[in-house]
Structure formats: C-alpha cells, structure tokens
C-alpha cells in the first residue's frame, strides 16, 4: 500500500461561537507516523474528523497528495478512521466486519476470502474469525477495527485515541504492534492522543496542539528537548521551570540569577542581554543528586538542599529537593545500580544537586 501526503492549510472551524480550530496548518509526509498530541478539548479529534470528512470547515483547505478533498464525502475519501470505541458492527462476525469494505468494492468471494485471511494473519486473529465482536477483548476489537480499515486500502489511516480504553500494559503492547504494522503496510498514520508517552515513543513527528492551535511540530526529540513555550515544556514530560534574570553574558552561557535558587549558568540558545528575564526549563532526569558534595567545576551548577519528598518508583526515585534559598527542584534518579552506587538518599537528607548548563533550555525571553 502507498501512503498519502496530507496538507492542512489554514483550517478554521467553529462550533457555534466557539472556535475549535484556529488557522491550523500542518504538512504530513508520505508514510509518516505522525502524532497530534494535546489535552482533551484542544481540537485534535475535530481536526481528525475534518480529515476524515465528518466535519466541515469554515475556512482553509485539506489536500491529499496535492488535491483538495474537502468537497468529498467520507465514503469517497481514501482515508480511514479508527475510533476510540472500536466501532465494530455488532451484528457481524469478525470475518464479516473485515469483509465489509471488500464487499462494497464488489470483489469476488474468493478474493474477499483471501484478503480477509491475509488481514487476519496480519493482526494474528485467524482463530477468532467467526466470533462476534461482543466475544472479543478490548485489544482484539481494536485490532479487528484496524484490519477492517486496512482492508479498504486507505492512503492515510486516522487513529483517534485508539488505545485509550485499554489498560496500561496492553496499551504498551498494542503500541509496539501498531508501530510494527505501520512499518509493514507503509501508509501514512495520523495518530491523535492526549498521552505524551504514546506520542513520543512511536511517532516520526509530533504536532503539539493547545486550544485549537498548533503549538509546535517536530521530532519527539525536538519537542521534548527544545519546547517552544511554557505549554510545550510542561505538557510533555515533567520539568523544572525557572524564571531568572541575566546577570552576565558569556560566550556560550548566560550567568543568571533566580529567586529561590541563586546564581547559575544556562546555555545561550536564545539571544538576550543583561537584565532580560528568561524562562528556563530543566528536565528532572538531567540533574544529579548525591549526599556527597560534587566537585564544583567552573561550569557546573551545584546547589545544596534538603529532600522534602521522596517517591520510589522502582526503576527510579523522584526527589523534591528544597534548595537553601527555597526553590523546590524536581530531581529523578535512575537506579542503574541502586544500592551499590552510594548511600541511599532518604527523606529529609541533606543533599547536593548538580547539572550541566548545556542541559537546560531557554523557553522564552520574557521581558527586557
């Protein structure tokens, strides 16, 4: 199957007076696994329904391989949607569900049988062909829904939070399966989710959406490591957001002064001058924590504080460290060698934390 290229151009849409999509533009490449990530109510599902043809738009255009599909009804668009609730036909068996689009294409019975068995083996459900949807588990239903959509040979597969009704472990499995499936069938996947872990783990690129607008588009790495604003920084993963004033401009770094923390260095990835206030993000896993004092080199930032909260997660521990000047810093310690490393850090322990100024990122230059 061949993937399609989707171009969304300046799309705006209203529900009554409420603007759900605000001048949204996106370019999705052939065969890409593209995720649209955002909190509920941000317009991501509406955008998907616009592409599928279930919603019209007030202005803008949607192109598939260069041609506008806005005037085509859903049944004439070479795209298919997977709904959150699976939407299997309750009155048809698994086999008949998958055969549904094939019958519409007036294929012969032999061709239908062959195509359906291929798809059944693709989703590893051969032995369930004659079951009714009500006899299947959530994960199986979702796989049948995907097979049924693929039977139609769409150029783009739209997935609307397809895993959100499943439990966490199954979600992980199906996500990997979805990724494999994408590699095998080669068509474009547009995946809508509110779960940042899902989005960044399988996507080629992610579009971050908030309040009807596209906030940032990029690879998962870019979106995680270089968020463009506060929303992007806080929505994806956990972070420490710090407001700080530039005291000194060096070649590579700024020396900044932050209330509650003190003076530290941060990487100079945006232009600012002395006296500007910056918003800086620093991911908790980038900070090292120890009971022993770090060798404070010229560049490294080292602070002293007390562990105020300790959350043991198994693979890591989350610490909330109150610095001497009052700021509470989130620090995640990965347990590569938990006990052998060094003395265990517990609640109310005095600790030192340190991070490399290269690991922080300036989100915004707030004021001058």
């Amino acid at each position: 199957m061949i993937g399609g290229e989707v171009s969304i151009k300046n799309v705006s849409k209203f529900f009554d007076d409420f603007q759900v999509l605000k001048n949204v533009s996106l370019d999705i490449k052939k065969g890409e696994f593209f995720s649209i990530l955002g909190p509920s109510g941000c317009g991501k599902t509406t955008l998907l329904r616009v592409i599928a043809g279930f919603e019209g738009v007030e202005s803008g255009d949607v192109l598939l391989d260069g041609k506008s599909i806005l005037n085509l009804p859903p049944n004439k668009r070479p795209v298919n949607i997977i709904f959150q609730n699976y939407a299997l036909f309750p009155h048809l068996t698994v086999f008949e569900n998958i055969a549904f689009p094939l019958k519409l294409k007036k294929l012969s019975e032999n061709e239908i049988n062959q195509r359906v068995s291929e798809l059944l083996s693709l989703i590893r459900m051969e032995e369930h062909a004659q079951k009714m949807p009500s006899q299947l588990s959530g994960g199986q239903k979702q796989r049948v829904a995907i097979a049924r959509a693929l039977a139609n040979e769409p150029r783009v597969l739209l997935l609307d939070e397809p895993l959100s009704a499943l439990d966490a472990k199954l979600r992980q499995e199906l996500l990997v399966e979805l990724d494999n499936l994408h590699d095998r069938v080669g068509i474009t996947f547009i995946y809508v989710t509110h779960d940042q872990a899902e989005a960044i783990s399988v996507s080629d690129r992610v579009a971050l959406m908030n309040e009807g607008e596209i906030v940032q588009v990029g690879t998962p790495y870019e979106v995680y490591e270089s968020p463009v604003n506060v929303f992007a920084a806080t929505f994806i993963g956990e972070t420490n957001l710090m407001k700080a004033e530039v005291v000194e401009v060096e070649d590579e770094y700024y020396v900044v002064e932050s209330p509650g923390i003190g003076q530290f260095r941060c990487y100079r990835d945006k232009e600012a001058k002395k006296g500007d206030v910056l918003l800086i993000t620093l991911r908790p896993e980038k900070i090292r924590i120890s009971k022993r004092e770090f060798q404070s080199g010229k560049i490294f930032n080292v602070f002293h504080g007390i562990v105020e909260e300790e959350i043991y997660m198994g693979h890591q521990t989350k610490y909330f460290v109150r610095l001497d000047e009052g700021y509470i810093m989130k620090v995640y310690k990965q347990h590569a060698r938990y006990i052998l490393d060094e003395p265990i850090i517990k609640w109310e322990d005095e600790v030192f934390i340190t991070w490399n100024p290269d690991d922080s990122f300036i989100v915004e230059v707030l004021e001058e």
Partner: protein
C-alpha cells in the same frame, strides 16, 4: 412471588382464552349463551369468512408497514435530537385523550363537510370521499398505533452508536447501504417489538373500521361483535376469535423466524 405471577396468568390469560376456546366447540342457544354439547358447526362457517379474514390481514399489514416506515425515521431523529425528552412527550400526548374521541375527530377532519374538504372547496374541488373506505381505516390505524412503534424503535435506536454509522460511511458505504445494512440490523429487536405492538392490535381493530370504515372495509373484529351481540351466536364469535388469535400467533412466529440472524 412465583405464585402471584401464576395466578395473574391463570385468571387474566389462560382462563379467558380457555373459555373462548371451549365455547367455539359448543352449540349456540337462540338468544345467546351456549348449550353444553360438542359441535364443530361454528367452524363450518369459516369458508364464508375467508374474504373478510384476508381483508383484515391485508389492511392490518399495509397499515403496519406504513406505520413502521414512518416510525423508523422519526425514532432515529428523536434518538439523535437534543430535545429527545420533549419529543418523546409529544409522542405520547395523544394518549391523554380517549381513543374513541380521537377516532371520531378524524370524521370531522375527513368528512364531506370536514376540514379538508372545506379547504379543497375553496379551489372548487370535491367534496372528495375520504371516509368510509379502506383508506380511512388504514390512515386512522397508522395514526392510532404510531406511538407504539416509535417508542420501542426509539429505545433501540438510542443504543446504536453514531460511530458505527460513521465508520460505515468511512469504509465506503452509501447512506442507503448504511441505513439498510448497518442501522436496521442493529435495531432488529425494536422493529420486531414495533411490529407486534402494531400488527396484532391492528388486526383485531373494531372501533376504527366501525367508525371510519365502510361496508367494504369491515374487519374480523366487527364480525365478531355482530355475531356476539346481533346474531347472538356465541360459538361462531368464539371460533372467529380463535382464528384471529391463530393468525396473530403465526404472524409473530413468522416474523421472529425471519428476524433471526440469517
């Protein structure tokens, strides 16, 4: 508790039916009532009434078909409407008025000096004979039993998720195909209930053909009443009731069988 159900069934269902069943095999007395001696005479009248039975089935069948055809889109609309509670209320409001009065009201609407003919008269048309024929009987049956079809269909339509209709369109099906192959199979139970609720009482209609029907649109119900009250032949009236019950039973079985999954 079990015994209460049994008593209820016994006194309200089994006993009356048994009385009618037994009476049909007895001999009539001249002024009504029965003589306790076995006779198949009542059933020997049956061939005479075949045309009447056929007409009753035909009228009830056509009326049921029209009722369902109207009720399906209405029920779908109500189930998808934001005003569903209000619309359901409107559906049952006719029940607040006695059904005889409502049937009588149709005479005022359809009569030769009725509302419609007065209106047509303004254009020099008519009067058109609307009343006292099968058309009037079918129309009023449809009117009377429409709510009984809408309610079970509404209950079934409400359970059908929008997404399965959308997914059908998405997979390339036309609206018509989605309606007949996706929506209707998923409201099958509602259709069966609606059929039973409309066809059975329509088949036994008495007041409607009596008030708005003509000589050529009498139904079995009218003949049963005539046998019972005018001719005073109770066994014949009972025999015809049994035939009516049998037809109703067979039609339910037939529709249930047809309605089963392939």
């Amino acid at each position: 508790m079990k015994y209460v159900y049994f008593l209820w069934l016994l006194f309200l269902f089994i006993l009356p039916i048994s009385i009618v069943f037994v009476y049909s095999f007895l001999e009539p007395q001249i002024y009504g009532g029965i003589k306790w001696s076995f006779s198949l005479e009542a059933y020997s009248y049956l061939p005479r009434y075949l045309a009447l039975i056929w007409r009753s089935v035909w009228i009830a069948g056509v009326a049921t078909f029209i009722t369902l055809a109207v009720a399906v889109p209405v029920a779908f609309y109500i189930a998808r409407s934001k005003l569903k509670n209000f619309l359901l209320l409107l559906t049952v409001i006719p029940f607040w008025t006695n059904s005889l009065i409502r049937i009588y009201a149709w005479k005022i609407v359809l009569g030769n000096n009725g509302l419609i003919n007065q209106f047509l008269g303004l254009f020099g048309i008519g009067p058109v004979q609307f009343l006292y024929n099968s058309f009037a009987v079918i129309l009023v049956i449809v009117y009377t039993y429409l709510p009984f079809a809408i309610l079970p269909l509404y209950a079934a339509m409400e359970k059908v998720e929008d997404s399965i209709l959308e997914v059908s369109l998405d997979l390339g099906a036309s609206r018509m195909y989605t309606f007949t192959r996706v929506l209707l199979p998923n409201v099958r139970a509602g259709l069966l209930t609606a059929f039973v609720f409309v066809f059975i009482p329509a088949l036994g209609s008495y007041a409607i053909p009596d008030l708005v029907g003509g000589v050529n649109s009498k139904m079995i119900g009218n003949e049963i009443v005539r046998q019972l009250l005018t001719v005073r032949n109770w066994p014949v009236a009972s025999a015809m009731s049994n035939i009516l019950t049998l037809i109703a039973l067979l039609s339910i079985i037939f529709v249930m069988k047809r309605g089963e999954r392939r």
